[in-house]
């Protein structure tokens, strides 16, 4: 009778031994993935950064305008000249790159190191020719439709060389602006050696300066200051989403544009690269379908990448997810710093051998 009772404990012991023995030689399961923080709102450092950038005085209210007291009686806030200068037109995308922050990010360091391997004098040559050190003097780059706005320190820029060579003509404009143009084509506006606007035509360059100096209203489509977080951020209207697709995929683009009236982008890149693409739309059902479609595509892509041993894609899709927030969806993509470093490992291999000692 006693022996009868021994069989089950013996079975349990054997199962434990089996599990232990097999686990000893098993390839370890994937290590717990490092939690990547996605940019979801302005953080303290970004608020402080934003406050430091608000150097432009508030617009003086026109004498005829009704004076609406602000809640709490606070004076109207100062503004960020870079965001004010963005000549955004309705329906056009606007994306801002925090160039200086990106340059000091892990991604930036790796990218610059890689660039320097190919051409060690590339940056020095650029600085000699223009007087601008791209690694130090450029703070932000904004792309709005066909215009590019660059903020930074341009007091050492060699604008005079362009004029002396006869490439561009210069015209003072407004209180602190200059317009450089060579005729009816592209034009460049410089404002107080802080902002440079590269515009498709002179009118667009003038518009930027007008917005800065209060002669033209700041477009509503521009980026609100409380959305200026992350190292890359921007807003893409639904109509612009449609234009991102090739003519062959125009129907797909139209469907996406119908579901997504506004796409917001935020990327953190200081250590890990974490991107959030937030899609808003009026049609909640269509947006829900879009979220599920994207989720399914990510899952299928992940499986396919694993089956095909496409490790970079596996790592990218492993940290990707779609969050349906009811009325809007967020697509989150992440690249851990360790993965980035592996991607750039090839650069080290291409590094030129050190010159022999004399």
């Amino acid at each position: 009778m006693r022996r009868r009772r021994l069989w089950l404990p013996a079975a349990a012991l054997l199962l434990l031994l089996s599990a232990g023995l097999l686990s000893l030689v098993e390839t370890p399961a994937e290590p717990p993935r490092k939690v990547v923080r996605f940019p979801s709102h302005m953080r303290d450092t970004e608020w402080k950064r934003q406050e430091a950038r608000q150097s432009l005085p508030p617009l003086a209210a026109p004498a005829t305008a009704p004076t609406t007291p602000r809640p709490g009686g606070d004076p109207p806030p100062r503004r960020d000249p870079f965001l004010v200068a963005l000549p955004v037109k309705p329906g056009e995308p606007v994306v801002v790159f925090e160039a200086n922050a990106l340059r000091h990010s892990r991604l930036g360091e790796l990218f610059i190191a890689c660039t320097m391997v190919d051409d060690p004098r590339a940056i020095a040559t650029f600085q000699e020719e223009t007087g601008v050190d791209p690694l130090k003097d450029i703070d932000r780059i904004g792309v709005a439709g066909g215009s590019v706005v660059v903020s930074g320190f341009f007091d050492r820029a060699r604008w005079d060389r362009l004029v002396a060579q006869g490439k561009l003509g210069v015209t003072p404009y407004g209180e602190g602006g200059r317009i450089y143009a060579d005729g009816p084509g592209r034009a460049m506006a410089v404002w107080r050696d802080q902002l440079v606007v590269l515009a498709p035509d002179e009118a667009a360059a003038r518009l930027s300066l007008d917005q800065l100096e209060g002669r033209a209203p700041v477009p509503e489509a521009a980026i609100p200051e409380d959305l200026a977080y992350g190292e890359v951020y921007g807003v893409i209207p639904g109509a612009a989403v449609q234009r991102l697709f090739s003519p062959a995929d125009r129907a797909l683009g139209a469907k996406l544009a119908a579901a997504a009236s506004r796409v917001e982008l935020h990327v953190d890149a200081m250590e890990d690269v974490a991107a959030v693409v937030r899609v808003e739309g009026e049609d909640r059902a269509a947006l829900g379908d879009l979220a599920r479609t994207l989720g399914g595509a990510l899952a299928a892509g992940r499986l396919q990448a694993k089956a095909g041993s496409d490790q970079p894609l596996v790592e990218l899709l492993d940290a990707a997810r779609v969050v349906d927030e009811g009325g809007r969806l967020s697509l989150e993509l992440a690249l851990p710093a360790a993965t980035l470093e592996r991607w750039f490992e090839g650069c080290a291999g291409r590094q030129a051998p050190a010159s022999p000692a004399p």
Binding site: W7, A11, S18, L22
Partner: protein, 277 residues
Amino acid sequence: MRAVAVALDLLREARSRKWTLALLGGATLVLLLVAFGLELEVVDGALAASRFFGGGGVHEIRPVEVALRPLFEGVASFVFGAGLVFGVLACADFAPALLAPGRIEHLLSLPLRRWELLAGTYLGVLALVLGGALYGGVGLSLVILTKTGLFGWAPAAAALLSAVAFSAVYAVMVLAAVVVRSAAFSGAAGGASLVLFLVAGYRAELAPAFAPGLGRSLFLLFTAPLPRLAGLARHAFGLAQGRGVEVPLLLAQLGGTLLFGAAVLAVAIALFERKDF
């Protein structure tokens, strides 16, 4: 010792069964088909060319065991997989037949302990499957030997690995037969355990498919003691490819498989001991 007598009795019974004989006949037919149908002109040609040209016109001369690796890989995979399927199909009826009304009462009246009865049946079936797998594996090796002059151990090794893997599968089948006296149920349990053991071989890769937390923990806990069928198959394939064997890994996987089989058999014996007939 009495368990061995039961095992031998089972082998005698298998010899008289038409179903077992039919499967054995099928294996023999496959061997004959391979023996007469295997076309090895490419290999013959390469060997003749190397003899004829003495290396002058042949850019790449490979040893014949390297040239024949794809053949051994295919044969080893076939033997490993077919050995398991053969086992499930051929042996699904043994344990339910042992427990059949009339026969079990007779067996229990003999001077045999219950555990000896079940363990003897288990060992007898394993011996049958091992014999069948070796028959197929060594037979294929011999066929290739006669065709190419090269003897490869890979099919025989695959047969042995398959028999060890089957020891865990058959333990589950015995347990199923003790719970429900049905050959169909026993066979289904064998098929299901094959799938589960395959899954267990990929548990690290599959775990991320479960949400972190209870679900994933349960999956990892449940699959931890299960034999890694894919791992054993990889060893069989690796031997055929001429790769060395990672001995600690192989021993651990073989040991884990045997321990799991013993554990499930112990559960079956525990249930059998409590059953009234």
